[in-house]
Symmetry: C2
Subunit: 360 residues, 2 copies
Amino acid sequence: MARRKNDVPDDLDHRQSTIKDVAELAGVSLSTVSRVVAGNYPVAQSTRVRVQRAIRELNYVANTHARALGGGSTRTVGFIVNDVRGPAFAAAVHGVEQEAAQRGHICLVATTDGDPARELAAIQLMREQRAAAVFLIGGAWDSAAYRARMIDIARSLDAAKSRLVLCGRPSLGPGIPATVVEYDNEGGAYALSSYLISRGHRRILYVGGDPAFTTTTGRLAGFRRAMADMAVSVDESLFELDAEFSRASGYERVSDRLSGGRDFTAIFAETDVIAGGAMAAVYDAGLSVPDDVSIVGYDDIPLATDLRPSLTTVHVPYEELGRAAVRAALDRPVGRAERHQLLGTHVILRQSVGRPAIDR
Amino acid sequence: MARRKNDVPDDLDHRQSTIKDVAELAGVSLSTVSRVVAGNYPVAQSTRVRVQRAIRELNYVANTHARALGGGSTRTVGFIVNDVRGPAFAAAVHGVEQEAAQRGHICLVATTDGDPARELAAIQLMREQRAAAVFLIGGAWDSAAYRARMIDIARSLDAAKSRLVLCGRPSLGPGIPATVVEYDNEGGAYALSSYLISRGHRRILYVGGDPAFTTTTGRLAGFRRAMADMAVSVDESLFELDAEFSRASGYERVSDRLSGGRDFTAIFAETDVIAGGAMAAVYDAGLSVPDDVSIVGYDDIPLATDLRPSLTTVHVPYEELGRAAVRAALDRPVGRAERHQLLGTHVILRQSVGRPAIDR
DNA sequence: CGCTCAATAGAAAGCGTTGTCCGGAACCTA
DNA sequence: TAGGTTCCGGACAACGCTTTCTATTGAGCG
């Protein structure tokens, strides 16, 4: 609360000391202390030393809030993610954090659990904090309403000299003041599907999420394009969509399929985590990977190398995604061109793919 | 920068609007707007509506910094962790974040990569931000100097009406103003080791980190105590210490051992991640798990269920650790008793342990 | 020896809120 | 109808810092 003049602080020596305390102890003015701390103005050597001693003695720590209020910039960025426990997200978060820290920025985190309402609330909080940039990490549900709201947010942030940064989700359209760093969902899925087809697979079970989710949209499109390009007829019954991005979901979908008879030779799992569940389901059905069923994933998280057989998947540069996003947002030159980067993805061949059982 | 009176803002309509703009548009005073936003003082229905309309129209967002300066409390907590990508840490981070969000607090993150200097810098940043509490997550290097510095920090934070919270590391001693939420490293390791011994294992390879690291200290102590209690003689050559907590390190240590001949029947890996590497090394040496070598881990991260065979390990309630820490720090009653909680751990039996090969 | 100029330090306004103190209007009660 | 209440709304100091703007040196120089 605002303390009145005559209201004497009860615990003088156990208070957080302010710049004023330092100034008094050092026998200089507030301005001088401020300048010593900032180091942006000439201060005589002797004075500087005196002030620094006082700072150490009082254990003085500048108050960011006051600084932000008086000075201007915040040196704070915020990022918003579905769930920090997802290994792919975690890598992106790590990239953001490292790169931001290197620029002297500190990160605010918020998680949404995939709930757009919580996402909105989180953005609001970061706006209150006057974050220099707000990073939205991971795919999004693409609806007209959602997009409209995002555009609104992008404009608001821009007006506040902040920046909306979309990591791993598509652009909101030209002219919208947002920075976009995507990776190639469609291309990776195309390459991976092509590989599967080239190995002889024709009946491939696709296990993925909601097609309105941008990540699914891209990967699914790549899969379909590869099938079309290589003239493989697509059986629409071989799509298990609207799955969750979880091991349990992958296990369940594949178990259910398998209990109704095996009518596919390979599984395209939309994420490595789903692939892990799928692989367990295949084993539990008494089948082997890749002899009976081949499996591929997407993301190349650490799990992919720990699975047995190790998982053939698509490498996504999540950490670099985060780093690139920070660079684009914080190092942006005066001419604030809308940046749009597309990071490449590539297939990592491991041991979970073989020739179809039927061929052998 | 501080704008002088006569300095006219160049972009009036594209500025972040302030409470003053809202007040003018609604035709009321600043105080009234503040009260509508805070909702802590009676305001006539009609006035309130008018103000709310103005807020929406101007897209007004309160400035946390100003609020913190004028008002007092911050509704911000900070946490510091080695690496957000560690699944165990990630779970703890998730717990902290969820519980903090529920209390309307937002989280600041910083990572240290295990570097004490960076940890110090991070704490400094959180102090500048006037975080309501600072959570240190994960084990620590226990040296007298380090502890002394931590005690200093605990006192500083306490003086600033903040709070140091130690999650998963031991107390700094009685009378130090810090909150501690630990889990039982020693007990879990004791139970797990006992299980291994009860299955007939006598020669157990222990793969772990630096014994000065508190996590290692505890787990190692539990292991030794079990061996002693069950009268198994300990071969000091069967300790691979100072390993990193990584898959690569686990793989390398076990590979090296195996290349010199197999003189153990089981591996006690200090973390599940190390166990994953160890398991791969055993396989690559042409041996099987658990027929030739049994393996156990610690942490019960998701990987443990994905490994084949699935990993027998100790469950650590990381998420609850984070939640409990927030509760202890933020809901602390007026009587600020130093809290110290010890969360239980328990063995999870899976498939990576069998009888020693020699018995069969 | 008076002048200018650089180097350094101080005074004070302003940043956007909150909370306290006060005043005026409407509403009772006697 | 006079005197209290109760409700509401406004004025304003204070929060801790940055950043002009202004003042005081002492040195260099013609």
